[in-house]
Symmetry: C2
Subunit: 202 residues, 2 copies
Amino acid sequence: MVRRTKAEAEQTREQILDAAEAVFLERGVARASLEEIAQVAGVTRGAVYWHFRNKADLFDAMYCRVHLPMQDLFDQVMTLADGGAVEALKAFCAQSLQCLATNSRRQRVYTILFHRCEFVDGLRESNNRLVAIRDSWLGSMEDLFRREQSLGRLTDVCPRLAAITIHTAMIGIYFDYLRSPHTYDLPAEAPRLIDLVFRCVD
Amino acid sequence: MVRRTKAEAEQTREQILDAAEAVFLERGVARASLEEIAQVAGVTRGAVYWHFRNKADLFDAMYCRVHLPMQDLFDQVMTLADGGAVEALKAFCAQSLQCLATNSRRQRVYTILFHRCEFVDGLRESNNRLVAIRDSWLGSMEDLFRREQSLGRLTDVCPRLAAITIHTAMIGIYFDYLRSPHTYDLPAEAPRLIDLVFRCVD
DNA sequence: TACTACATACATTCGCGTTTGTTTGCCATT
DNA sequence: AATGGCAAACAAACGCGAATGTATGTAGTA
């Protein structure tokens, strides 16, 4: 069986990405072999090298699959300029955690990002892109808090520090939850956690 | 030159640990070879295998070198039972960040822990130990907040959630700072950051 | 027919764990 | 106080597997 139709080829690509998630999660990105990924996907390394240049390219594609929808949602939240911006941000954070707790793909991919990869060698550029996303999100949140201040709210906290606090708080929850998910009941605790976190910018 | 005195052997051990820090940081733990570590330390792999069983053992020793002093300090802070416990915890957190910003060894080791290693295969047991430390610290902080409640403070927040919030906030700051240190002025911002974080348990 | 979408084969590199060899510090014995 | 033996503290060599990138083969499709 060779030379599938375009749709079949796209399906093969998705199978390889699914396999990459599983193998990265189990072995870690560095020790994961493209051979094993191919086997899990039911193909050979030839197929992997056809769809992706190398392991780093595969990694990027895997990450994009879960990041792009979230990026869209974030942009949507940030562009609303009315008074309830902080509440909208808060809702976004809560929903993000809820999604993390229920969507197993997001769970796998973010576990890989936080606990199963080393950003050196081939993944240096991937890391640069992640840092750029961080800077962008941080900047957007800082702008949000600055706008809030111009409306007379939050007069006693620096917008940048507020943004950093919220950002690092979310990072910390992601990191800690994905390290030991069984110690959390995230669907139940997420709202109260977010409430606590946002008390510092209230 | 073989068979050094005990003091010289201990110095060799320290040199190997120093080299491991440097190589782990540059290549990541998985892609770091014991050969390169030995070279940087000015010895051969024979010396490395004499002092450590394997890479994971070397990793553990490297981590212990920075963790044990901090653990002592934490225990000291937690055992004081008077009324200023939260303030003491707050001071500990601030000092922890200050130390991270100024102590280059701590910076290297925690950068490795957060961004340069995959906790799979040989590092699974190391990870278990890290999780055990987390559980212990979290438990201590929960006890602290519970004691605080029995004194009539913080009556509106769950002690466990308060502990999780502080813990994840610190984790997040560590993670984010070590990912892009140049975007922070940690010595200057640490106190204000900690102030903001602790507003949610005040 | 030309190109896509793979499979197969090849060459090379690299790192690990172990084993063996060597020299010297240290301690018991006389 | 001298000495002999043992083990510490490494160095050097061996054997092995495993993974990567590329090059080539091949069948179906448009």
